[in-house]
C-alpha cells in the first residue's frame, strides 16, 4: 500500500507525515510540487507547513501547483486525500472542500494539545474511530478560523460532513467549532489539527498516564489502510 506525501516549497510537516505513514505500516511515496502524476499511489497526504510562504492566502499558491491539479482530478475520482492544516487550506483553496480559513480570532499563532470529538466515521480517514470518540492531537496554526456562508454551513451540518469539532474551547474562532470536514463521498478529509504529531509515544501530546504519550493520530492512517484494502 503506497501513500503519497506531498512537498511544496515551504511544506514543513512532510517528514512527520511520512513517519506517521510508515508507523501505520504503509509505504511512503514522496510527491514533489512539480509532479504532474501521482506515481500510482493509493492515497495522498497534504501535510502542514507554509507552502510558498502562505503568502496571499494560506494554500492559495499551492492550489495552483501541478501536483495539486493532479490530486484534484484523482480525488474527484475517489482517491483518498487527507489535508492537514496547510493541507486543509490547500483543499479549501482547490474547492475540494467548501468554505475558507482565516486568521485566528486571537490574531496570533497558537500551538497546543487540542481535544476533538470525532463526529463522522464514514470516511476513508476516520473509519477506525468510534462515533463521538474524544481524541487529543496537537493543534498549531495562525490561520485556522473556519468560515462559510450560512447556506454552506446548513448543508455541512445537515449532511453530516463535519468530521471533527473542537472540545474544551475553540482555539481559533471557527464557526460551529468546526475542526475538520469530509466531502460527500468520504474520500477527502481536511482538518486543522495535526494527527501526524500524535503517532509515536514520547513525541505526542501529554496524557494522564505519561508525558507526551498520546498516539490518537495513528487512527487516521489506520483508517485509510482499511479503506483502501476494502475498496
Amino acid at each position: 500500500m503506497k501513500i503519497g506525501v506531498v512537498t511544496f516549497p515551504g511544506t514543513l510537516d512532510d517528514r512527520d507525515a511520512a513517519r506517521a505513514v510508515r508507523i501505520a505500516g504503509a509505504t511512503v511515496v514522496p510527491l514533489w510540487h512539480a509532479d504532474e502524476n501521482l506515481h500510482k499511489v493509493d492515497a495522498v497526504v497534504l501535510p502542514g507547513g507554509f507552502s510558498y510562504g502562505d503568502y496571499l492566502r494560506c494554500g492559495a499558491i499551492a492550489a495552483q501547483a501541478p501536483v495539486t491539479q493532479a490530486i484534484v482530478k484523482a480525488a474527484n475520482g475517489g482517491l483518498p486525500v487527507l489535508g492537514i492544516c496547510n493541507g486543509f487550506q490547500v483543499l479549501v483553496e482547490s474547492h475540494l472542500l467548501p468554505g475558507g480559513l482565516i486568521r485566528n480570532e486571537a490574531q496570533h499563532f497558537i500551538c497546543r494539545d487540542q481535544k476533538l470529538r470525532v463526529e463522522n466515521v464514514d470516511s476513508a480517514w476516520t473509519n477506525a474511530f468510534e462515533l463521538n470518540q474524544e481524541i487529543t492531537i496537537p493543534l498549531k496554526n495562525g490561520e485556522g478560523g473556519y468560515i462559510a456562508d450560512a447556506e454552506t454551513l446548513k448543508r455541512l451540518e445537515g449532511e453530516g460532513l463535519v468530521a471533527f469539532r473542537y472540545l474544551d474551547g475553540n482555539p481559533n474562532g471557527s464557526v460551529n467549532d468546526i475542526a475538520g470536514l469530509r466531502n460527500e463521498r468520504g474520500n477527502v478529509v481536511g482538518l486543522m489539527p495535526h494527527p501526524e504529531h500524535a503517532v509515536e509515544a514520547g513525541f505526542g501530546p501529554d496524557t494522564a498516564s505519561a508525558m507526551r504519550s498520546g498516539i490518537d493520530g495513528l487512527k487516521f492512517f489506520e483508517s485509510v489502510l482499511k479503506a483502501v484494502v476494502n475498496a
Binding site: 492559495a60 495552483q64 479549501v92 482565516i102 486568521r103 480570532e105 478560523g145 468560515i147 450560512a150 474562532g173
Partner: protein, 82 residues
C-alpha cells in the same frame, strides 16, 4: 511605473477577526465614531507599459481566480495608476 491596483475585501457577511480586533483597539483608544473596521488587501501589479484593454481584462481574471477567493472575498475595485 504603471500599475494595476486590485482591491480585495472579506465578504460583508463573513467574520473579519482582524478588522474586529482593530475596531476594538480603536474603541479602547476612545475613537467611538468609528463603528466598524474591515481589513482587506491592496495588490499592485506593476506592468512595463501603460496597461492595454487586454491586459486589464487579464488582470480582472487573475483578480477573480487567484488574487481573491470568491468563497470568502470580493474584488471591490480594479484601476490603473501611472
Amino acid at each position: 511605473m504603471p500599475k494595476i491596483i486590485v482591491e480585495v475585501m472579506p465578504k460583508a457577511d463573513l467574520l473579519d477577526p482582524q478588522g474586529k480586533a482593530v475596531a476594538n483597539a480603536l474603541h479602547r483608544q476612545g475613537h467611538a465614531n468609528i463603528l466598524n473596521v474591515r481589513i482587506g488587501k491592496r495588490i499592485e501589479l506593476h506592468t512595463a507599459g501603460v496597461p492595454t484593454e487586454a491586459e486589464l481584462a487579464e488582470a480582472q481574471k487573475i483578480a477573480d481566480s487567484f488574487l481573491s477567493n470568491g468563497v470568502i472575498e470580493d474584488v471591490v475595485k480594479i484601476h490603473v495608476e501611472n
